[in-house]
């Protein structure tokens, strides 16, 4: 895909490439390339390498430790990291709660939490969905009752990604059941080591264990951990969702995976040639590539607006919908490409240190689990149906 770069941007790209070549551990790259599950340490090791370089939070304002890059530089950075099979940078601290603390937190909260997000000292998880509150997030029931200098929290959250690794949770809690449902919600920061918090893993259909249920039983949270005002949590929550959804476009990763699709298709024999010679297959891959080009163009526009001082608005739903459609489309192409070797389920091959001879081609093991796992993308962060409701209501006024 073409990307028109200025000489300065080319120099920047080469600088990123050189850094990746010199500083990214090969063991990490291999895990990502093989589609293996990453451990807490893997994520943190990479986080700390980027932190040391000053590149962990390019999108943050400079005074908080951001890189001060142009939108195109940020885009190049994401693209180069994905192409090099760098581990993903998790969004929960950097892209989600970070901007909320910056915009709505008090000075003490900023001084305490922001540096710890940057350094990786605190691993954050997101306490939004509940068993009874998914698409209808505002119906959440987890209750926080003020008791002197504390809130006492009771209830449960679910689908919490990496809660098992987390030091902190940003949590939507109900502080009032009076008036409009949205007005009784507050935004609370919780230490995951607090007494009364239980984390229970959920196995998903791909065999993985990334998500969890989190239960709160009389958890005492210092009142100073409240962000902004009591009852204003819904405003902060929506602000955060704008950032979350913008981050779901994942252009770089999709582009890398499209390259993988072609590589695999080129090594799958069909008759005298390969699958890549099949015009139907080529066109399906090309159609997704063009979708990605359109999405990339929109992302660049959104980044430009953001760096001109804008905040992610309801348009971030476009990025979430199209980004996840593309990701799922690619996962289908990969599944089609691998053919018969979609069948074997070899969960051991997705764990690090598995050195046995692969069953079938060495790229086969993660493909079907990835296809199954990525059905989540049109569900999480607000289902794609909810995104369309937002577009219809907030942008079109329907």
């Amino acid at each position: 895909m073409m990307m028109e770069l200025t000489p300065d941007e080319i120099a920047f790209r080469d600088e990123v490439r050189a850094f990746l070549r010199d500083s990214m551990p090969d063991a990490l790259r291999q895990k990502v390339e093989k589609g293996q599950h990453l451990s807490r340490e893997d994520f943190l090791d990479w986080h700390k390498i980027l932190y040391a370089k000053g590149w962990i939070a390019p999108g943050w304002p400079k005074e908080h430790g951001g890189a001060g890059w142009t939108p195109m530089q940020r885009h190049i950075f994401d693209d180069e990291l994905a192409t090099a099979y760098a581990p993903p940078i998790l969004p929960f601290g950097l892209a989600m709660v970070g901007p909320v603390i910056m915009n709505f937190g008090n000075d003490a909260q900023k001084a305490h939490y922001l540096p710890r997000i940057l350094s990786g000292e605190d691993w954050w998880c997101q306490g939004y969905s509940e068993p009874g509150a998914g698409s209808d997030l505002a119906s959440l029931k987890t209750k926080a009752v003020r008791d002197g200098d504390h809130y006492v929290v009771d209830g449960a959250k679910t689908w919490t990604t990496f809660a098992q690794h987390a030091d902190m949770m940003f949590c939507l809690v109900r502080t009032s059941s009076e008036g409009k449902r949205q007005e009784g919600i507050s935004f609370l920061l919780m230490d995951m080591k607090s007494e009364g918090i239980t984390v229970k893993p959920i196995r998903t259909i791909d065999g993985g264990c990334e998500i969890n249920e989190v239960f709160f039983d009389n958890v005492r949270v210092p009142a100073e951990n409240l962000i902004g005002e009591e009852g204003k949590g819904w405003t902060y929550a929506k602000f955060l969702l704008g950032y979350e959804r913008t981050g779901m476009a994942t252009i770089g990763r999709s582009r890398r995976q499209l390259a993988e699709v072609r590589k695999i298709a080129a090594s799958e024999p069909v008759g005298e040639g390969t699958l890549l010679d099949d015009p139907k297959f080529r066109e399906k891959a090309a159609a997704i590539e063009i979708d990605l080009l359109a999405l990339e163009s929109l992302v660049l526009q959104v980044l430009a607006e953001q760096s001109a001082g804008g905040k992610p608005g309801p348009e971030s739903s476009f990025l979430k919908i199209k980004g996840t459609e593309i990701q799922q489309g690619i996962s289908e192409l990969l599944l089609e490409a691998v053919g018969n070797y979609a069948h074997p389920f070899v969960p051991e091959a997705l764990e690090h240190g598995w050195n046995e001879e692969p069953i079938g081609p060495d790229y086969a093991a993660p493909i079907a689990p990835h296809y199954f796992n990525f059905r989540k993308t049109s569900i999480y962060g607000g289902t794609n149906e909810i995104q369309k409701n937002i577009v219809a209501k907030m942008i079109l006024g329907l």
């Binding site: 196995r203 053919g339 069953i359 296809y371």
Partner: protein, 380 residues
């Protein structure tokens, strides 16, 4: 009353449906999948007792001589229950090959045991390079003094590790992708030089990759005539494709039922989510996908019994329809369930995975769409 079925088939359907409803619960199935063989021996015994293993096998060898439509009735029920017992490997593939290609001695020796549940079979045919091209066989069988020596590799052999006998395709003449020159051999699973690397599949079945290194078999291991097995293999796989279509129909029906129930009970925004129009339309489309597939599969099963050409076309058409419909129903069922659909402990994801893997078996919808386009006889 099901207008497409005969009286006998209705009785058969009742007995399968009752077995699935009463004895094949999703929780029990989890336990069976975790067992060493990956299924329950007592279920296999029940299948034998109820005549399901004998169903398509010839009457002169302990079978019931049932039609493909009869098999479809059973398989629809199996799809409803996500049955993991090796019926495809033993009865639909192995049993059919022996019945059509085997010598009288093979049939007399093997088929009654299959029908009684005393013998399990597996068909080793697909290879690393063959993808969905049925005559692409590289494994070689060289005739020697008093027998054959087999060398080669076989992929995704369902039921191999648990089989009492393997039916292995190998080339006795001709080039790699020629239809002529393929033969079938009976090979014991413990034959010297045979390595079986077993694994579970995405959809809780069992399969294996095989390596054959100078595997010696006697001359009597050759099933029927040398070089001429391809038409039998093609017919057997095509029938299996239609049977899998019936299984997919059962899986779609059960998955739809789960999903529609969820739409009626899951409350968000103060109402069941099934009251939202965009989800209603989706549910209507899922129901249509199931109903169209079911009507077509049972009709194709009947049409397939009328001759080889009809069978080939019916099989490719069925595979396209169920591949497309199964993907739509599977993906939408997960979407409409939301997070709960992604969890391993809930049945929806397992139906989705089975439907996905049925599409990947014997060629995807897109693969067969090309095949169908090439043979379409609609007049221009």
């Amino acid at each position: 009353m099901d207008i497409m079925l005969s009286d006998e088939q209705r009785l058969l359907k009742d007995s399968v449906d009752r077995f699935i409803a009463d004895e094949y619960g999703f929780e029990q199935r989890k336990g069976w999948v975790a067992e060493a063989a990956g299924y329950a021996a007592e279920n296999w015994a029940t299948f034998a007792e109820l005549g399901w293993l004998a169903l398509p096998l010839p009457e002169e060898h302990g079978g019931l001589g049932g039609s493909l439509s009869d098999v479809a009735v059973v398989l629809e029920g199996f799809g409803t229950g996500l049955v993991v017992e090796p019926y495809l490997a033993t009865v639909l593939l192995g049993g059919q090959l022996v019945a059509e290609a085997g010598t009288e001695a093979h049939k007399a020796d093997i088929l009654p045991k299959v029908a009684e549940g005393q013998m399990k079979l597996a068909f080793a045919h697909t290879e690393r390079q063959s993808r969905y091209n049925l005559p692409d066989v590289k494994t070689e069988a060289k005739a020697g003094s008093g027998g054959f020596t087999l060398n080669g590799q076989k992929s995704i052999v369902f039921g191999a590790a648990d089989a009492d006998l393997l039916v292995v395709s190998a080339r006795t003449s001709g080039g790699q992708r020629e239809e002529g020159g393929i033969s079938l051999f009976c090979v014991a699973p413990d034959a010297a030089g045979l390595t079986i690397r077993a694994y579970g599949t995405q959809d809780s079945q069992r399969a294996a990759d095989l390596t054959l290194e100078n595997v010696e078999v006697e001359a009597s291991a050759l099933m029927g005539q040398a070089d001429g097995a391809y038409p039998v293999i093609a017919r057997t796989v095509q029938r299996a494709m239609i049977s899998l279509g019936a299984e997919a129909v059962g899986a779609m029906g059960a998955l739809n039922e789960l999903t529609f129930e969820y739409l009626k009970t899951r409350q968000q925004f103060g109402a069941p989510i099934g009251t939202f129009q965009s989800l209603q339309h989706r549910a209507a489309e899922m129901l249509m996908a199931h109903k169209l597939s079911r009507a077509m599969v049972f009709r194709m099963a009947k049409a397939a019994d009328t001759g080889d050409e009809a069978l080939a076309q019916a099989a490719t058409a069925t595979k396209v329809q169920i591949g497309k419909a199964g993907k739509f129903v599977g993906q939408q069922a997960i979407q409409l369930h939301g997070g709960i659909g992604m969890t391993d402990e809930y049945a929806a994801g397992h139906y989705f995975k089975r439907l996905t893997m049925i599409d990947a078996l014997f060629g995807t919808a897109d693969h067969h769409l090309t095949a169908f386009a090439d043979t379409s006889d609609i007049s221009s």
